[in-house]
Amino acid sequence: MTLADRDEMAELALKRVRESGAEYGDIRLMHSTSQTINGEDRRIASVRDVADSGFGVRVLYHGGWGFAASSILSIEEVPRVADLAIEIAKGSASLASERARLVDEPIHRDRVVTASRIDPFTVPLDQKTMLLQEVMEYVQRQPEVVRSHASLWARGDKKLFVSTEGTRLEFDLLAVQGEFTATARHDGRFASRTFTTPHLRTGYELIDSANFMAEAPRIASQAVEKVKAAAVRPGTYDLVLDPEHLSLTMHESCGHPSELDRALGYEANYAGTSFLTPEKRGSFLYGSSHVNLVADNTEADTLAATGYDDDGVACQKWDIVREGVFVGYCTNREVASKIGETRSKGSNRADSWGSVPIVRIANIGLEPGQASLGDLFADVKRGVYIEGHGSYSIDQRRYNFQFGGDAFWLIENGKRTQMLRDVIYHGITPEFWKSCDGVADRRYRRRYGFITCGKGQPGQSGWMTHAASHARFRRVAVIKG
């Protein structure tokens, strides 16, 4: 299907929306391709190539929303889907006790393309499977490593967004990621260690530069060391957290509570609400003065930096927490007005043509501080250094959290010493961030992304990147997992 065909479909749909008397409508036509290669225990367990096409029409009629979508990408299907979206919006409007309204956004006409050197879909498949087999073979040659997993993933999205306001946006986006895991067994226990690249909007050069085979010896030996390590002794510890680990801590304890739709109750029945309620904006002490959490959907290569969101709003950069004080939300054109803002932050995204856009966490990151990593360790008498992701859970208002990690080391008198296992820490979000007394400088900054952030009913997967340098937290409760 040509771009002209898509424009014709868009025009037909939006004509019907305009003629219905609706105040707003938009259409997203998408063609997504993805390739996922999964390896398990030395073998390539699956290679899946997915082509996913369709379109979705969104209508705001007298303050009521309607959305309909179809995987039949043809001009003949457009009237059915557009009329269904209008019919649904009219139904919503019939029960509307309060009309939804959209804040203004300039009209945009643009094309956004992911900058990449190597298109991941042109890299020969045997080169990819060979890489995964080699790394699995290597880690499983180590005594006591009993299992291995490895995977490569790439996705391309070609999208056309057109609205009744005149915005027309073309997107040609890419995203890539790879990882491998070694699982060791010892004395009736088993433990895993994982190496992962971030998910980034880039080409296959991300995988090439990750150099799996150079990382494999460390991952294999640390899996064995971890399963044989002493269990942590429960107590109060200072924690030094690496950027990969912090990406999840920030995501759960800062990202989700800063979604305005949650704070307004839209997710009360599923993902939950937020302790960061609107009256706290501008005054609530979320963390220490070292804590500056910034949303930046303009940083190149990051997952939420798509130029524009699915409201057709330009991507932006803004503060969520400034010197410890909660100051900003992630918003869309509907909820922004409810806290008196005149423009959306551009954080409304859908996970496919078949889903309606909802407020999503932006690329929220912890701003670098002044310390070196050595400085952060130097002042710790008894602490734990944590790398990577492990167990995680948080309550539905984002107060009480509990995190594990992928690898743990004891810190004694300023030095990282032996590995530990089964480390779990827990706390209450603002108390935890108030205990942050140091952030490493820009040299240590790393970016990690998520593509499986669950939210919405029906459920959708959100994509965003979280960047951080290492950070230190004082006197955190640690238990044995």
């Binding site: 009521g64 309909a68 029960l95 009480n400 509990q402």
Partner: protein, 447 residues
């Protein structure tokens, strides 16, 4: 109004259409074996919060997946475009992948043609339910909450799916499956109450009863006290039991068992839980979401997984099953957990038996802490109460638990008959409400 506007209603892929699409692939395939999977789904959800409609959606998505193998070299490609050209392109992509993929030592050809059970997986009232019916149900729940001056947040959804599998060796199965869901969180200022349902028939969602349940929980949650973390006797309602049991079911895979990376290692045939507990798969049960066949084309059948506390079955992939000489692979898409001996009829009877206990409506954000012994963590949610002298005396602030279901279900003080249970994080099950002792709540939150 229960029938959707016929002009805006899509026509689903029926049995004959699927056979036509499958033949389009199978007749052109040059592979040794070829399998075609169909999932054509039409679903809609009406979502409300703060007692108003916030989202109202309808999506039709058809997906055809082609998997081919040359020897043990396998490839898979899918498309949402059912035109002849795109379907043949999916076959070509799958063949290209298979030709350059390494040989998979665990590859097995598709199962031989099977006789599948005929189950009532589709209900016409659900297939015909459209946005108007969903809106009617949402309005009913919102209205009941408004009468009580409470806020409602929730969903009403309905879907119909045509599911099929066809293979070059003659294997063929297709069935239509419907599903309707309702879930509701009632907010009384800072307090919440919750209830949920899922059923093949939209007529069985019991909107009024479930709304009243959520309202009562929210109202009872207003007066809340904070208790210290620690070990408590607990009464777990069916949704809370389903949350813990889902994680047990997900970790029953035979490959991990054989490789020693399963919490059930060496426990097959042994007493692992309370001797009154029995877990079965009952795909034909009218209140479960049983299916006639699996994605691979194996028949769903009644099966005994845990009998009187003894682990009898593992979840086999076909390769591990062949290695272990397992002839029939048991499925577990329609789980029913029941208890032998005297049982209570309702949770209320369990409450009456307790001098002091914590009553848990539901758990949230359950995750594995330690995979070796299946220690889990999660939060209580939407109705956590203190029971004293046989009655609820107050709500309590929500706890975080840190516990292994394999430990706490070794002994059960009492339980009810199995009841329908579904949560936002689990599939549908029939499970009892139970009284367990020494359940570990490791911390408490602010509400």
């Amino acid at each position: 109004m229960t029938i959707a506007n016929v002009k805006t209603w899509p026509k689903m892929t029926g049995r004959d259409e699927f056979r036509f699409l499958a033949d389009l692939v199978l007749k052109r395939s040059s592979a040794d074996q070829t399998v075609v999977n169909l999932l054509d789904q039409h679903s809609g959800t009406t979502r409300f919060a703060s007692s108003r409609i916030i989202q109202n959606v309808d999506t039709r998505r058809g997906t055809l997946t082609v998997t081919v193998a040359f020897g043990g070299h396998r490839g898979s490609a899918s498309t949402t475009d059912f035109s002849a050209g795109s379907v043949q392109d999916a076959l070509a992509r799958a063949e290209r992948i298979a030709r350059v993929s390494p040989e998979d030592p665990e590859y097995l050809p598709p199962p031989d043609p099977q006789v599948f059970p005929t189950l009532q997986t589709s209900r016409p009232e659900t297939a015909a339910a459209g946005p108007a019916r969903r809106l009617e149900y949402a309005n009913e729940a919102i209205g009941q909450c408004r009468i009580e001056n409470l806020e409602a947040a929730g969903i009403v959804s309905s879907s119909v799916a045509s599911v099929g599998v066809a293979a070059s060796n003659g294997l063929f199965a297709q069935e239509e499956r419907t599903e309707a869901r309702f879930s509701l969180t009632v907010q009384a200022e800072d307090a919440t109450g919750w209830s949920a349902a899922a059923h093949r028939s939209i007529d069985h969602l019991k909107i009024q009863d479930r709304t009243l349940t959520a309202i009562n929980k929210a109202k009872r949650s207003r007066d809340v006290q904070e208790l210290a973390p620690g070990r408590y006797r607990v009464i777990l309602e069916p949704a809370a039991v389903a949350g813990l049991w889902s994680w047990m079911l997900w970790t029953l895979d035979a490959k991990s068992y054989e490789k020693g990376t399963s919490p059930f290692a060496d426990q097959l045939g042994r007493q692992i839980l309370d001797e009154r507990l029995t877990l079965q798969n009952v795909p034909g049960h009218p209140d479960l979401l049983g299916t006639g066949f699996t994605h691979e084309g194996l028949p769903s059948e009644d099966a005994l997984w845990i009998e009187k506390g003894v682990l009898k079955q593992l979840a086999y992939d076909r390769f591990t099953a062949k290695q272990q000489r397992i002839k029939r692979i048991a499925t577990l898409e329609a789980p029913c957990l029941s208890a032998s001996g005297p049982t209570a009829f309702k949770t209320q009877e369990l409450i009456k038996q307790c001098e002091r206990a914590i009553l848990v409506t539901n758990f949230w954000y359950i995750r594995t802490v330690n995979p070796t012994d299946l220690t889990l963590t999660g939060m209580t949610r939407d109705g956590t109460f203190l029971v004293e002298d046989g009655q609820i005396t107050s709500a309590v602030r929500n706890f975080r638990f840190h516990e292994s279901p394999l430990r706490v279900f070794k002994h059960m003080d009492a339980c009810t008959e199995p009841a329908e249970a579904v949560t936002s994080e689990t599939g549908k099950m029939l499970v009892p409400a139970v009284i367990l002792r020494d359940f570990h709540f490791s911390s408490v939150t602010r509400f």
